[in-house]
């Protein structure tokens, strides 16, 4: 391994100076990094050139393009796998480990795959281990283990990470902050627009950060006659001063979807950006050159090397050879020379090299220029130790050099992915010899190197003009390039194939394997990709797609246009699932009840109910349920939907929305009702209370409150009811006090008559507690005597504490949602959405009593009539199990003579009885009380249940009513 070091000064350019240094570890080894280092640049500076092992053959791989395009730098950082070390900024104390090796990175035992037996050749999964069938079962785990990349952290170190979704609505969104992107931003800013400029790297400036040629021909004349590097900085400072500009660095755009939706992430934030106009300035990256051992550490791209020198003050190697086809290679050679690397030769693939200024300079430095030749092979095991060059057809060998670095500067491939993304196929631009998107997308513009290489002045002019057009939403201008800027595309892939000529570094596919696949008949790019798996690895073809198309054309004789790369699809880079999922299962705000803090302080665990957090239990749900049965319990039911319906048509509206009749529901009375959809299916239930003259108060389940409000508003709009809706769900908090002693407690809390005759079951009253007006409802989901108290949320916590204090005398205990579910099951109450689904009709669910179908018109009438005529086929029944019998999971099957005849919809252990109870859907024949049913548990064992007449707990409802 060559000795690499930081440099203090450079012969030709000024270097960045970093004062702060810190350390992190790579495979336990301490690495010193400077402020501004990526993980990869710090490792390189520390002499750690070997970064990873390749996918199949476990070949050593190191930093290559220093731009995060290829698979070479995939590492695990702080338990997060498959991060690209050249895109992550080094941080103090990071623990970086390498991936995909058995034993150490340096001495990977699996490297035997490379040297001794290549047992995973192209198309192996189509050919090998097919027969006999059982072979695959044995070899699959071995192959999966051998061929893989990072491992998921199954210990869950990262589960506390909080992901956020964020939104932006710029007028112009510019993706890529190189010279053209900055100029486009300036053009749009000058037109007075709000601009969002997104850059994947840590700093803006793009290629100008490491390019030092003099600028000329720039429309902004102040930028002429200085180096591109300085011009880039001036341009950057100019736009950064504009308050209409927002810049996001270290932000990866991974997709551009329909309607100009730009999807990006930065750290743990996912950005959804709706831009009126998008300017894509993603530029170009160095071409991928295919030759023998082209994947060795020490082989880098021209721009990758320039970044190491100019941005990280690193002397990349002791001795280097540069292979090139254009002036860019000479620029790289000059930067190398100035950094103290001895450049042994510049090997130029052009048949005759004109004596341009760049070439003259290199010759003047005493560097040998070799014309009309190319690289043939690299030598070395874990790092390059030498190269051999020769004729471009690969047939005649030339000189050999001993060196520790080979630089490829053989032109650029355009970064079309975001521009094309599922919309357009790239076509070959013969004149400029690049892939190009020829079709326009409305409100989308492409500027910069993505249209083919050009000088800074040209890029500025193009960027600025397009930025101005984008600001106005005008049609894109036809881009143009000067002939001298065109870089020949077919430079130096030597004709002969070889076993170690890697086309696809992700999947370890070689030129020989590609040729072999073509010989087997897979002679189109699409089929070749699928068969050989080229371009299907972590980089998704970013490295190889151009080489694949170019070489396929060569090997098949297809026209270059027919050999266009396969469709670009999102995501452009890997996206963490956590980013897509976000921190909550919904996009709305997380809602907590007014008493949430009390529940937390008292050891509650929570679950999500719609947007709400509900207390699931306080540690022991069985004991909580028993407290209600034997004493007194209290539950926070603030999350319930609470909708007030009023107005002259309130009753008429209710008659239409609900299946029952409510004309005789007197003020102060409460009635249970279902809600039926137009298709006759039950979707919700709740209680409807007549609270004031002509004012009704609907209490529904937590999850459906917003849907019901929307539904009500729709019907009021379309049918013209003069009825008014107020959604009081968050406005009012509520508690349910349940248990035999609840009346005693209520008498202490309020001064109205709580006597059974004065305040009977299914009625409501207004009252006052400590000066706060409250609504009382005597209803009983749990099956006990119980009262629900509704009061303004803002006094929620003090009201709860007050009730708890007054209830101390009766040993009041809180119970959670889980205990309530047990209690309601003992009582045989169904939960819509849990015990019912999209096929549950109310007659079969046992709530047909809520339907009065002799009304003229109401929602679901036509289908309810049909259901009634067809009669009952299945029924939702309560059942009980024997003592000691296993409690089945929700959702398991009910069997009869080996046939499935139903399913369990809810199942719990009932602590008051000491055995299981539940609700199950069964066929009509099995629904008679006393019928024995067979329930198959998830573990395969059967338990016997007995169908109940109604329910187990207080079937007569005496407790509720007395």
């Amino acid at each position: 391994m060559s000795k690499v070091k930081r440099i203090e000064k450079h012969d030709f350019i000024s270097l960045p100076s970093y004062s702060d240094s810190f350390t992190f570890t790579f495979n336990g080894k301490t690495i010193t990094a400077n402020e501004g280092d990526t993980v990869a640049s710090a490792m390189y500076a520390a002499g750690q050139q070997l970064v990873s092992r390749s996918f199949k053959y476990h070949r050593p791989r190191g930093l290559k393009d220093n731009f995060g395009q290829g698979p070479e730098t995939l590492v695990t950082i702080d338990h997060a796998p498959n991060l690209r070390a050249d895109t992550i900024m080094a941080k103090k104390g990071m623990a970086v480990i390498s991936q995909n090796h058995v034993g150490s990175l340096e001495n990977d035992l699996m490297a035997i795959n490379d040297t001794v037996i290549r047992w995973l050749p192209y198309g192996f999964y189509y050919k090998m281990f097919h027969k006999p069938k059982w072979v695959w079962k044995i070899v699959e785990p071995i192959i999966r283990k051998a061929a893989g990349i990072g491992s998921i952290d199954t210990k869950g170190h990262a589960v506390d990470t909080r992901y956020e979704k964020r939104y932006r609505f710029p007028e112009v969104c510019v993706i890529g902050a190189g010279p053209a992107g900055m100029a486009a931003a300036k053009g749009a800013l000058d037109a007075g627009k709000k601009v969002l400029l997104i850059e994947e790297q840590a700093n803006i400036g793009g290629r100008s950060q490491h390019t030092f040629v003099n600028v000329n021909g720039c429309a902004d004349t102040e930028l002429n006659e200085i180096s591109e590097n300085e011009a880039g900085k001036l341009l950057m400072f100019e736009i950064l001063g504009n308050p209409n500009l927002e810049v996001m660095t270290l932000t990866q755009v991974f997709a551009v979807y329909e309607d100009n939706l730009v999807a990006a992430y930065s750290g743990t934030d996912l950005f959804k950006i709706r831009a009126e106009n998008i300017v894509i300035a993603t530029g170009a990256t160095d071409r991928h050159l295919v030759f023998e051992n082209n994947d060795k550490p020490g082989i880098m791209t021209g721009r990758g090397v320039e970044r190491l020198i100019a941005m990280h003050a690193i002397k990349p190697a002791n001795e280097a050879v540069v292979v090139t086809t254009h002036n860019g290679g000479y620029h790289t050679a000059k930067l190398l020379h100035g950094a103290g690397t001895k450049v042994l030769a510049v090997v130029d693939g052009r048949s005759s090299v004109s004596n341009t200024k760049e070439v003259e300079e290199i010759k003047a430095l005493g560097i040998k220029v070799i014309e009309n030749q190319t690289i043939h092979k690299a030598k070395g095991s874990k790092c390059v130790t030498g190269v051999a060059i020769g004729s471009k057809d690969g047939k005649q060998s030339g000189e050999s050099f001993n060196c520790d670095m080979l630089v490829m500067a053989v032109g650029y491939k355009t970064q079309l992915s975001l521009l094309a993304m599922g919309r357009h196929k790239p076509a070959w631009d013969k004149e400029r010899e690049v892939l190009k998107i020829t079709k326009d997308t409305p409100n989308m513009y492409a500027v910069g190197d993505i249209n083919g290489y050009a000088s800074f002045g040209h890029l500025y002019n193009e960027g600025f003009a397009v930025g101005q057009r984008a600001a106005k939403g005008e049609v894109a201008i036809e881009d143009s390039r000067k002939p001298e800027d065109n870089i020949m595309a077919l430079p130096a892939d030597i004709e002969c194939g070889g076993d170690n000529h890697f086309i696809c570094p992700c999947m370890d596919v070689t030129r020989n394997e590609a040729i072999g696949s073509i010989a087997e008949g897979f002679d189109q790019v699409e089929t070749l990709k699928r068969y050989s798996s080229m371009g299907m690895g972590p980089c998704q073809g970013k490295t190889c797609h151009e080489a694949v198309a170019r070489l396929t054309a060569k090997d098949t004789g297809l026209g270059i246009n027919d050999a266009a790369p396969t469709t670009y699809r999102p995501p452009y880079n890997g996206v963490k699932l956590g980013l897509l999922a976000g921190r909550a299962p919904h996009l709305g705000p997380v809602k907590r009840t007014a008493m949430h803090a009390w529940h937390e302080d008292n050891g509650a665990t929570f679950l999500n109910a719609g947007q709400w957090k509900r207390a699931r239990d306080y540690g022991d749900n069985l004991q909580e349920a028993l407290n209600v049965r034997n004493g007194l319990g209290i539950i926070d039911v603030s999350t319930l939907g609470k909708i007030e319906i009023s107005g002259p048509d309130a009753l008429k509206f209710i008659h239409f929305m609900f299946p029952g009749k409510f004309a005789r529901l007197a003020q102060g009375k409460v009635r249970y009702s279902t809600m039926i959809k137009e298709d006759g299916i039950i979707f919700e239930d709740g209680t409807l209370a007549h609270v004031e003259d002509g004012v009704y108060y609907l209490s529904t389940t937590t999850g459906n409150q917003d849907a019901i409000e929307g539904l009500f508003r729709w019907w009021i709009l379309t049918d013209g009811y003069e009825a008014y809706i107020r959604n009081l769900s968050g406005v009012n908090a509520a508690v349910n006090i349940a248990g035999e002693k609840s009346r005693d407690l209520m008498e202490h809390l309020v001064d109205i008559d709580m006597d059974n005759e004065a305040f009977p079951y299914m009625s409501c009253r207004e009252a006052e507690i400590e000066g706060v007006e409250v609504m009382l409802f005597r209803i009983g989901f749990t099956g006990e005597l119980s009262y629900e108290i509704h009061f303004p949320s803002e006094v929620g916590e003090s009201m709860w504490s007050h009730i708890m204090a007054k209830g101390g005398k009766y040993h009041i205990k809180p119970f959670g949602l889980e205990a309530q579910r047990i209690l309601r099951l003992e009582k045989g109450h169904l939960l819509p959405g849990v015990d019912t689904d999209a096929l549950s009709n109310p007659f079969e669910a046992g709530v047909g009593f809520t339907i009065k179908d002799d009304k003229e018109n109401f929602i679901g009438k036509a289908f309810l009539k049909d259901f009634k005529e067809k009669g009952i086929r299945n029924r939702l029944v309560s059942y009980k199990l024997e003592k000691g019998a296993q409690i089945p999971d929700d959702g398991v099957a009910v069997l009869k003579a080996g046939e499935i005849v139903g399913r369990v919809s809810s199942s719990r252990y009932a602590p008051v009885f000491g055995h299981g109870v539940g609700l199950a859907w069964v066929t009509k024949e099995l629904s008679e009380a006393g019928t024995k049913i067979q329930i198959r548990c998830a573990n395969g064992s059967d338990v016997a249940g007995e169908v109940l007449d109604h329910c187990l707990y207080d079937p007569e409802g005496i407790k509720l009513k007395s």
């Binding site: 329909e258 309607d259 959804k272 709706r274 729709w714 709009l717 379309t718 009438k861 036509a862």
Partner: protein
């Protein structure tokens, strides 16, 4: 992006979609008509008249004529304007 007649252009995630704009049959209509109304949405290619609800916004319902081919060209209006 979808245009709410009340709030203007907003992210489509703020809205919910109910379905095509179809007239509810009379209470006395045949059962076949009801089956058509409940289950048979045409889902045409191209322009379609639909119900949308700005649930995470002003909570108002409105009508959208939307081109299902590109999702871009659409016209929003109030029910009373249809």
């Amino acid at each position: 992006m979808l245009t709410c007649p009340n709030c203007g252009k907003r992210n489509v995630g703020e809205f919910s979609y109910k379905g095509s704009y179809n007239k509810r049959p009379d209470a006395a209509a045949s059962f076949d008509k009801w089956v058509d109304y409940v289950y048979m949405d045409e889902n045409p290619t191209g322009m379609n008249r639909e119900w949308w609800y700005h649930g995470n916004g002003c909570k108002r319902w409105f009508i959208v004529d939307r081109d299902s081919m590109d999702n871009l060209s659409h016209k929003s209006q109030w029910f009373s304007e249809v």
